[in-house]
Each structure stands twice: as C-alpha cells, then as structure tokens.
Symmetry: C2
Subunit: 595 residues, 2 copies
C-alpha cells in the first residue's frame, strides 16, 4: 500500500507540511495549489525537496469549475489550465484533479462535459499530465461518481480517469458497490475521509467536519474493499478538511493521519480474509490489569487508597513503585522526584497475546515506549498513547506475573475493599480528542459506546465512551470546552456494595465529595425514592441514577493533583455512568477548588 | 420594559450568575432547574439573594415531557410536578415553563394535551403557580405556537397561558403575525433569541448556535412588534443556548446580553414610530475621522508613516500626542510609558450629532470612557468598545475641530500621500466575536456586509465586514481560530494611485511585505494579465484582485507591535477586500515573524 495525504489537511507552510508528511511515513502528497501559491519556494525547489524527502507528488489541485460551460468560458478555462500545467511541469507533478463544476456550469449535458474534459485531457497530454475527474457531492450537474465515470467513458482519452473520494460517495448515500464496475485502468486516484453523522448541508459538513478514517461514522472498510476489488493500485490518499487539524501541530497531525490510513488498510485486508502474515491482529483487552499513578509525592493518594480500604500490595523489589489492591483492582504508584502532581501515568490491559498487541500497535504507528526492567522482572510490552499515557499489555496466560515483583504486602483485612476497575474517565483537550478516538479504536481495539453532551459550569462537555462489547473495559473520554480548565482524570472502582464502601470510607475519615441538598430534593422529584433510602444517599453523599435496566450508585473522593477516585455499584443491568448527575458533580468539584 | 435572562445563558455557578445578572441591569431571571439542583444554596437562600439583588424570579424550568401521555405516565408526571411546585414555593417563583413533549408523548390528540395541562394547572393553582406552555420547534406533536395556543384555549384555566420563544417560531419559518390573535391575558411569557442562518437540524441549531438579539439573521424587530402589538406586558427574557457564551466570563456576558435586549427594544420602538424622547436615535458614521495608535515607543510607526508619505500634522499642545495626515486620513499617535507595544487604541467617527451618538450608545449599555481634556480642547464624546478600543465621535458640523489642538505641523510636501481610511481590519478572539458584532450594529450603527472563511496557515479565519451602506466606513472583523496567535490589526488607506504610492515608499526605503513569485504566476493563470503589468506588480509586491465590478491593488507595510498598514486602490466599482490574496498575505506575514 502506498500512502498519500493532501497538504490541505495540515497546518503551517508548505515546506513544514512536506517535512511532517515525510517524517510520518507517507510515500507521497497531494499538493493544494493554494499552498504552493503562498510559498516563497519555487516549484523547482518544492520538487527537489520532495525528491530529497522521498515524497512523490501524486496529485496537484489547481483547477475548479472547468466543464459544462459555454465555449467562450471554456476557452478561458483552457488558458487557465495550460498555465497551471506549466506550473506542474516545473513541479514534476503528472496528475491533476478536476472536480465537477459547482460554480459556473450552465449546461447539464454529459456530452458537453465529456467533450470539454476530452479537450482538457488533450491539452494535458502535451505536458504528459493525466486528469482525475471527481464528482463533488454538491456539483451543480455532476454529483455522483457513476455520472463522473460515465462522462470519462464518453470522453475516452487514455489520460482521463476518475478520482473517487469516500466523502462525496458516502455523504450522499450512494452505493459504493458500483465502483467495482469501473475499468480499473480508469481508477486514477482515491481520496479517503471519514465524517461524523451530521444532519447539515453537505458543503459545510465536508469543509469543517471531515475526520481521518476510523474517527467518524462512515463504513470505510466496505468502501475500500470495493475499491481494492475493482483493481485500484494507486495510493490511498487522505483529504480531510477539518477546522481542528488545520490548527494543531503539523508533525503530530501527520503522524495521526498516517496511523488512520494504516489502521484502515489493515482492517480492510483483514475484513476480506486476506491476512498478511506481517500484520498482527488487534488484541481486544479482557480487563484493566492495573492503573499506574505517578507523581513526585503520592502520600495523599496512598492515604485515600488506604482510607477506601485498598490493601497494600507491597513495594517493588527494584523500583520506587508501590502496589495497592482492592480485589481485582490494582493501582500502581510510581513516585519520581520530577513527576509533578499526581496523575494517571499508565494503564495496563490483559489481552490474549501481549506481544501481538504491541506488534499490532506499532504496525499502525503507535510509539514504542521504554520500560526499565531488571533481571526477572516481567516483560510488559508498552507503547505511548498520543497524550503520553503509557499503555502496557500482559498476556492473559501470564497475567499478574508482575505482581510477584512486589514485596512486603499486607494480607487482606476483614473489611478491605473488593472490586474491579469499572471505567477510567479521561479528560482531553479539544484538539486531541479525535486522535484519541482513533488510538482507542485502532490500537486498543475498543468500540465507540454512548456519547452525550453534559452541561458543566464552564460549557458543554462532550463525552464519548470507548469500550469492549462486554463492558469489561470502558474508557469515558471527555472533551473539555476550549477555555475551560482541563478536568482531572479519574478511576472508577466497581464494588458489590457501595453503601458499605461509603460507610467504611467515612469511618476511616475520608471526606467524600459533598453533594448539595437540592440534588436529593431533585432525586425525590424524579424517582420518588422512599425517605429512608434518600436519607441514606444524602448522608453518604451518594449519587444515584436509574433507568429501565437498573440503577447506579456512586461517590467521589477528593481530587489529589490531577486524579481522583469514584466508587460505583451497578444494580441490575444498568450500563451507564450516571450522566444526569455529572453537572452536579462538576459544580461540586469546582466549588471545592474555589473554596 | 422589564428585562430578564435565563440562567442557562451564562457560565459558572448559580450565585455568580445572579450577581452578574443584577450587575448588568436585568430586572429578573429565569432559573433553570439544573442550576438550582447543582447549587449548594437552598431555595430559600436563592430567594433571599434575588430579593437583595433586586431580581425577580420570573420563570422556573423544571419540567419536560408532561402532556400527551397515557394516564399512568401522566400520574407520575403530576407527582414529579408537585415535588417541583414545592421547590418553587420555597424559591418564591410563581410561573413555571412547560415545553411541549418531545420524548414521551404517544397521543397526538390536542384534547388529551388540553385535559392533562388543565389538570397540571389545577395542581399548580394549589401552590399559586401559573403555567406557561411553549411549543418547541421539535416537539413530537406540538411544534407550532398556534397549536400551543389552541391547546391552552381548550384547557381554559386562568393560570394556564402560552410562552413564546422567537427561536421556535422563526426557526420553523412560522408567521409571527398570528401572535396578534392570541388573547393578551394569555401571553404569559416571552423568550428571545437570535440565530445565524444555518442549514442543519433544528435541535442542534438551537442547542449550540443561538445568539443574542442583533447578532444573527432573525428579524426580531418584526417579531417583537407583533408581540407588543398583541398586548404583551411581561418581561423580555433572553434564552440563548450557545457553546461560546457558556464558557466566557459571566459578568461580561451578562452585560453583553443586556445590551442586546436594550438594542432590540429601542429598535422595535423606533421601527413602530413610537419614539421615546429619552431614546436618542443611532448616528450612522459618515467617515472615519481618525485612528489612534498607542504604545510606549511609537518611533517605528512614525518612521513608517513618514516613509509612506504622511505629513507630520503637529504635536498636541498639552498631551504627548502627535498627528500624522495623508489627505483625509488622520493617524493620532499617543505615546505613553506603560502603553506596551504599538496597537490601535481608538477610532474616531464623524457623525451628524456626536453627543446624540454617545447618548444612544450609553442607552444600550456601552461603557462611557474618560478622556482628559484641557480648557479649549475639543469635546469628543467617547465610549469603550467591549474589547477596550476607544470610540470617539465628532459632529460633522464641527469636524476636525480637534486638529487645531496640534501645533508645529509641516506643510504638505509635493509627493506626500493623499488618501482616506478605506477600512480597518480588526482581529478578535473567537469568544469576543459575537459581542463585537452586536456593538458594531447597535452602537456604531453599521450593517453586516459580506462574510467569508479564509484559509490561514493556522486554520480558517472567519471574516465579517461591518459597514455603512455607502461604504464610507468599513470594519473587517476577523475571528481567529482558538489556538492561532491573534493577528495584528491593520489600517487600510485608500489612494488614487497605489503604484505611485508603492514607488514612493520604496524610494524612501520602506520594505513592503514580500510576496512570493508563485503568487504572480497564479495571477497570470487566473487573470491572464499582460507581462508588463504583472512585472510591475511583482516588483512592487502589489497584490491584485478583479471581479465583474472592477479591480483592487494593494500592498502591506511591515508589522510594528500589533499594527500594520495597507495601502489600497479601488479601480472601477470594486467593493471587496482582495480576500483571495489573504492566505498569501497571512503566510508571508507568518514567514516574517518566524524569519
């Protein structure tokens, strides 16, 4: 597979973009004319730079509104095109994109479009240039790839073919199966973009909200399957217009983009049963093995764990790392002088084959991460998530072999806490959200679950749950509004009896997050709870939710640095996260910070 | 006119919101139940705080999905409602909003809705509470205010009336003239919101994109005229859900909100010919009288003006202020030790009646601004724009009387520059944009002109021109992407011969912003300009645009601090700003900064 990307996906100047594309591992680029026009470097310099960086210039995009016009307009279009073909000669680019006319077309006749594209192709041929003709979803007369192919067939020129763009096909709901009917020699180019399901005009949707493959709701695996079965052998190229990516760091976005293509290609190959021996399969996690908290002083975290009823699992025999356990829930504390405030530093997952999980992750562009081990220490394959969090895998067959490295742990007390890690709640800056979605799908093999907009005191928080199908691993990702302070992250421990857990925490002197009386009056109004139960909830600062499947009770610890804990109990088949109570929790935490 | 605002418009906790509403001058508030539920203060405390602040609680919003349901569901709804009526009793609120059912309604019969609302009203009556019933634009069976009124009429309870919301009426394109057919005794409440024209689903449009009156595309003056003619005498209340306002400073947003209501009310009264003697009419500007640049060291600015061919107009007789003039274009330089980098500090406008302009501005909430004058100095009525820029007005009859305060100016040289201020280009942080639109419409009496999305190297820049109809005053407002550095602002001087101006600047050693060769190759392709003209443009770093009306030539000076200058020439009836060249200019300026 050759990979390519349109320079319009990235921020900054053209030279910076090219360096970033090469560093990310792309084989080629589509150059948007506007990027070249604004560059101080000549076409010859850009050509030479691409050659040095090992990038081919797969496509150039200088033309719009060419065909379907009257003869005088077409003559001027041909003049414009020749001037751009001249630029392409200097640039060393041999394929040009022509999108269906959106602005100036006055003639709906495909015969006229074919004649004019044929003439354009003949002019291009003089420069050794091929034309890839693409139906835009909002083209005035041509807005379906099948019509574009029909016009290309009519024009019948060797250097005229079609360009397919997944957005233009799927946004209109056109069946991509028809792609297999196109002559493979005429499939000149392929542009890929994902997008969220949005009910809005297709032009704004395309201009502002495209996403990299895997981050939206399009079925790109099926789309690409049709294209590959049709016999397409050119590059897979990304063309993603997105307000966020245009603003973010170019090197990081290019790496992110390349990961999305590798993920899509691997998924498609796998879906078609054409298993490449080199491509390790993804390893969906069975459970959260442990969560690692790091900081320069973790004594407050340790105190909270102790007060919650965690057992001390011992100190690591060679590192300044301590283990705390509550049944299946393991928290690893790594104290390092320069680690700053307490924060979630890493997450361990149990998978079928830990080495395969890492090989798969690296194959789609995850960054390997160094983990210091001494003789006899367990090997935990490790990568870094885009936000820097460490991802550790241990094989189910050897799970918890690392636990034996901890010495001096205490045996379980009678009233110690027993639970599992129910979910992690991870706040992300707005411009890192889509990248994290892709990482969680592609590398961690999680599926998108429910999503919701929650009203916080400083703006709406978009929440997206990523999970395994059975719910054994759940990450709730929160997208904070741009101006709001980034929320701390938290670890939710699920227990069988949250009331007992709350009472135990209270006995040991742990203050739980105080919840206002008005909240309990509201619970009374919403659910008609009986007075005794309501009184108990109020006394213990427990939050409550109920739906058709069951109910949810939970409480929060104070925040230490950038982390806090939540203790939850799921009754019946309740599968949510108490979202209705989130605004109350956010305000209460804000009050604590301010107070 | 009584003014009110829904607490959901603002950020932060309920107590902060109430203080901000009172400080902004609101008479009352609509309290959103979620704000109360999350508050640590009891309903009694909130009631007492509102009383101390002089705020009435005009509406409470705790109920949804009440009517059009089966009997068992309605019985539970009634139970929920009674619990909330009890909270209202404690809160001292006597009107509750009931929106048409969007979630649980199963019965489309207005008779059933009327019966259930009647029962709800009877329960409310026990608590002395009135119900305002509102048709949501996306209500399942009731989505038109005329249907809501029909149901209220059928139910026929003294304490049941309708609530009108401009968004729900205008977003659906319903004719607001029918409001005049509603019994005025049944017009219980009025919610006002503006919105941009967007082609998207109405629920997302409402939740995320509402604007304060004057900032969007709804004809609220006509809407409010119908409501007032119908005999409505209750408060005008704002209900604006907007992702931006929820994040911005609560005090500033409340003041901004109150300005929008005053502007709307004044405009509506004026449009109906009911001139209130206390309400001064707006004063559309005739011209930009001057622009004031401030800074701790303005020598670089002074050198650029000198090199451009501005004449030194003298020093102020009592202040450290100097005047530079190029024909009609006046630049005032205020050097102050702590003024920081050079920046645009103020803008002077010529109007028919300067005192009336200020009275009008203050009547809709603009902040008066102190301006130090000595005996004999001209009185320039002054306010501050929301971003802190000073706005000065001088009456046309006494225009430039302030010029006489400057002494020691030089007489015009032979090749000095002659021009007028064509436009100002003002970059704004994203969360101050709508506020500035309202200020420019309401206080400066400018109209929205063209708007466009321009691709900058670090994201799309939304550009909105505000202008007088004749184009004599133009402000181009640019909304920068959140993470991009805020662009400097600039002053565009229009001359008759920009080529001569560019040559003069070059002779005096002023480096103009260098424009890449590729840009001129592109001009050649786009416009087929002849070689000699193209050569001239290239030599002088002139940018060029052409449309059906005429053409536009311009160049830029280097940036000093936060300001730079543009010299423009409009040929024929060209009325734009060379937007197609803006990406090239932005990249060139970015290269200068980095280089």
């Amino acid at each position: 597979m050759r990979t390519s990307i349109a320079t319009v996906c990235l921020s900054g100047g053209l030279v910076d973009k090219l360096h970033a594309c090469a560093a990310a591992g792309f084989d080629g680029v589509e150059i948007m004319d506007a990027d070249l026009v604004a560059a101080v470097e000549s076409p010859e310099e850009i050509r030479a730079l691409c050659a040095r960086l090992g990038l081919t210039i797969d496509l150039f995009q200088p033309l719009r509104d060419c065909e379907g016009v009257d003869d005088a307009t077409f003559a001027d279009n041909l003049r414009r095109a020749r001037a751009k073909f001249e630029v392409m000669r200097r640039l060393g680019a041999s394929m040009v994109l022509v999108c269906s006319n959106v602005g100036t077309a006055t003639i709906a006749d495909p015969e006229v479009a074919a004649r004019q594209l044929g003439q354009l192709a003949d002019a291009a041929a003089e420069y050794g240039i091929s034309i890839a003709y693409e139906a835009l979803a909002w083209g005035r007369f041509v807005d379906d790839y099948r019509d574009a192919w029909n016009i290309v067939e009519r024009a019948d020129r060797a250097n005229l073919g079609v360009c397919l763009d997944s957005f233009h096909v799927l946004s209109r709901g056109h069946d991509p199966a028809g792609i297999e009917g196109i002559d493979p020699a005429k499939l000149f180019f392929l542009q890929l973009a994902d997008a969220p399901s949005l009910d809005m005009d297709v032009l704004s949707w395309s201009r502002h909200h495209r996403l990299f493959p895997g981050e939206g709701q399009f079925d790109l695996t099926t789309f690409l399957s049709h294209v590959l079965r049709a016999g397409y052998t050119g590059p897979l190229s990304l063309e993603v217009f997105n307000d966020t990516f245009r603003q973010t760091d170019v090197t990081r976005t290019a790496a992110h983009a390349h990961r999305s293509l590798r993920w899509l290609y691997n998924s498609t190959v796998r879906a078609n049963g054409q298993l490449d021996a080199q491509v390790a399969p993804p390893q969906p996690p069975h459970a959260v093995d442990f969560v690692e908290i790091s900081g320069s002083d973790l004594s407050s975290v340790e105190q909270i764990l102790d007060q919650l009823g965690f057992d001390f699992g011992g100190g690591h025999r060679t590192k300044a790392v301590r283990l705390w356990r509550a049944g299946e829930a393991s928290i690893v504390l790594s104290e390092e002088p320069r680690a700053g405030e307490p924060h979630i530093e890493g997450i361990g997952f149990t998978v079928t084959d830990a080495q395969a999980a890492k090989r798969h992750a690296v194959s789609i562009g995850a960054t390997p991460r160094f983990r210091r081990t001494r003789a006899g220490d367990a090997e935990l394959p490790t990568v870094s998530a885009p936000d820097g969090t460490g991802i550790y895998w241990s094989s189910a067959s050897t799970a918890e072999s690392w636990v034996a490295e901890f010495e001096g742990g205490q045996t379980s007390e009678i009233d110690s806490l027993h639970g599992v890690i129910d979910h992690l709640n991870v706040a992300l800056p707005w411009h890192e959200f889509d990248e994290a979605v892709l990482f969680n799908i592609g590398v961690l093999a999680l599926d998108p679950g429910t999503s919701a907009d929650l009203a916080g005191p400083y703006g709406l928080v978009r929440s997206q749950v990523m999970r395994t199908r059975d719910g054994s691993v759940r990450l709730a990702m929160n997208l904070a509004p741009p101006t709001a302070p980034l929320q701390p992250r938290h670890i939710a421990i699920r227990v069988d009896d949250v009331i007992a857990a709350a009472e135990r925490a209270r006995r040991s002197g742990l203050p739980s997050l105080p919840i206002p009386d008005n909240y309990y009056d509201d619970l009374h109004a919403r659910f008609g709870l009986d007075d005794e139960f309501l009184h108990l909830l109020r006394e213990l600062n427990l939050l409550y939710d109920r739906d058709a499947n069951g109910s949810f009770l939970h409480f929060y610890t104070p925040t230490v640095g950038k982390v806090f804990f939540e203790i939850v109990e799921r009754r019946g088949a309740y599968d949510g996260y108490g979202a209705a109570s989130t605004p109350v929790r956010l305000v209460a935490q804000e009050d604590r910070r301010a107070g």
